[in-house]
């Protein structure tokens, strides 16, 4: 805090920040509040219960959806994060940076329904092409490759999540000095070994954050998933179709709250871990003088 600043003004800034956060979070907090009420939304009496959460876990449909969501999240993370890592690595080494960064970030600026429906059309056409090739070859082997399925949903979500992972990883890579890779090579390590032993441990935090980010994005995503999924449902698509068809039930409140809890816990965990790490590093660094470097 600037010592010449009016303390009231300082307090005001904090109050404003808090207000913004509360405004944004109030509906979510309200949903969480209702999800524990035995009498549901709008009731006069509040009775705490976990009944609605219990219902989620006894509902075959919902458990199935949860399983699909988790699978989708895991597969997308396992593919998108390594791809983003590679992209960030090559981006740092590239001479011309503008074009690759445009390509990688472009999916961020395409509205979700447009990206989703564009992919939908592409997959339909691709599917037709593959069936036609199969017919020509006298095989039905290719017929289902691009029929809407887990694969198409995965592809759509990878395209959606890669920019986020890329940016997060690139930021953690910013502090890495390439001299260390060269030193490792001079010690006899191959390029891959140098990356794995020296660079990766230093950007691991970024990779983990990107993974958590990706899982949350997949959990929360509705538009692209619902357009591109095959004959299955994710947690979010079930929730939204329920809301659209039958309105909010106490169970829907519990589902919404659960998704929020997961997301907040994941992001909160990352922030707290990062803060603890930064504090620990700062404490060590404070003890010792900075090395002489010019």
């Amino acid at each position: 805090m600037n010592e010449y600043e009016n303390p009231w003004f300082h307090g005001l800034k904090w109050a404003y920040l808090l207000l913004v956060v509360l405004t944004l979070m109030a509906p979510v907090l309200y949903v969480m509040y209702i999800s524990f009420n035995a009498n549901g939304f709008g009731a006069n009496e509040y009775v705490f219960t976990l009944e609605w959460y219990g219902l989620i876990f006894s509902d075959e449909l919902l458990i199935g959806a949860l399983r699909w969501t988790l699978m989708l999240a895991i597969v997308v993370t396992l593919v998108a994060v390594p791809m983003a890592l590679l992209a960030a690595k090559y981006y740092k080494a590239a001479d011309n940076k503008l074009f690759p960064v445009f390509l990688l970030l472009a999916p961020l600026f395409v509205p979700p329904d447009i990206l989703g429906s564009a992919l939908l059309v592409s997959f339909k056409n691709l599917n037709a092409v593959f069936i036609w090739i199969g017919d020509g070859l006298g095989t039905s082997m290719f017929d289902s490759w691009f029929r809407l399925s887990f694969l198409t949903a995965t592809i759509g979500l990878i395209i959606y999540t890669i920019p986020y992972s890329f940016v997060v990883i690139l930021i953690t890579m910013g502090r890495y000095r390439k001299e260390q890779t060269e030193a490792a090579r001079a010690c006899g390590a191959s390029g891959w070994r140098a990356f794995w032993d020296i660079e990766f441990p230093q950007i691991r935090a970024g990779v983990f954050s990107a993974s958590a980010f990706t899982v949350i994005l997949v959990f929360n995503e509705y538009t692209r998933t619902s357009l591109l999924k095959g004959g299955f449902d994710t947690f979010t698509t079930v929730l939204i179709s329920q809301m659209l068809n039958t309105g909010m039930s106490p169970q829907s409140y519990a589902m919404s709250a659960m998704i929020s809890f997961v997301a907040i816990a994941a992001i909160g965990g990352i922030i707290i871990l990062t803060l603890i790490r930064a504090e620990a590093l700062a404490r060590i660094a404070r003890g010792k003088a900075e090395p002489v470097m010019s």
Binding site: R185, C187, G188, S190, D197, V292
Partner: protein, 366 residues
Amino acid sequence: MTFQTPPAVEVRNLAKHYGDFVALKNVNVTIAAGEYFVLLGPSGGGKTTLLRTIGGFQKPTSGDVFLHGKSVGHLPPDKRPTTMVFQAYALFPHMNVTQNVGYGLKVAGLPKAQIADKVAHALDQVGLTKFAQRKPHELSGGQQQRVQLARAIVLDRDILLLDEPLAALDAQLRKDMCLELKHLQEKVGITFIHVTHNQEEAMTVADRIALIANGDLVEVGRARDIYRAPEKSFTASFVGENNVLKGKVSDANGVSVTVDVAGAKLQVAKRDLPVSTGQNVTLSIRSECVALETVNDSNAPTDGLSMLGAYDESVYLGLTTSHLVRLPDGTEMVSRIIADADDTLPVNGAPVRLRWKPTDIRLHVE
């Protein structure tokens, strides 16, 4: 020169271009095994480029590098018999000193006990035994560079490349570490190739020095020769504190050449150089070899080993004092003398004579 064993490093017709920019043009150099070799030159001259090409961190545009007689142009750094010490930031921050030094041995797959022994020995050699458990950020700049040294010598590679290893250190520490480096090299007996733009550092450590400027290897020679008897005028201007004079040859028919410089006729040994009358040449004399004399009216400059000028000013440098003298054509010459500046100095503009011994002035034709 013939070698029983092939030289440690042989660079042949090496060129390196960055796009249109030529960082190295046609460099040839041979470095014997066990030599302490220094690449010295002004900033941007191409020293780092040459060193990194030898180490395999950069591909030459043309030309070839031979290490122990084998062409290594196609090999990455980890497949070459070289290792490297960097200017800074090259320690692995997430590993402690022991792990840093042992990293190359771990990569090579040595058993743990053997790694521990070798690391302990290397740390002992650089005087860091007490710091074995520290992380890099808990070390001073000098200690960090020692860790890099230990990490390099522990590998028993026979060529060690050092790119400005002392540049990040303060002057006193740099002096101390120069000597340490020299002694370390004598102890381990491998070839050191050391890049620096600091000539004192170069003179301290080098068996031989190569002068590199503008992508050219200007001159190679023993440290003493480079200092005392530079072949090229660039060497004279870069190493030591030389007076460099431009003049025209007026007589080249004897063992000595007569050169007109600022109205004076100077004598200089020809050393079998190809000179002819009327040619523009350069002369160099180290400032500490130039004596300053006050002039009485009868003195005329006829002996060819002195010049007249107007006294300008003195600069007190502690050990020595530099006297600046302006020649009739405006050129400034320096006479550096070990003496206190308190002695009565000529007044500004007073006529003075600069004198030197015949062996101290050198002719350069290029």
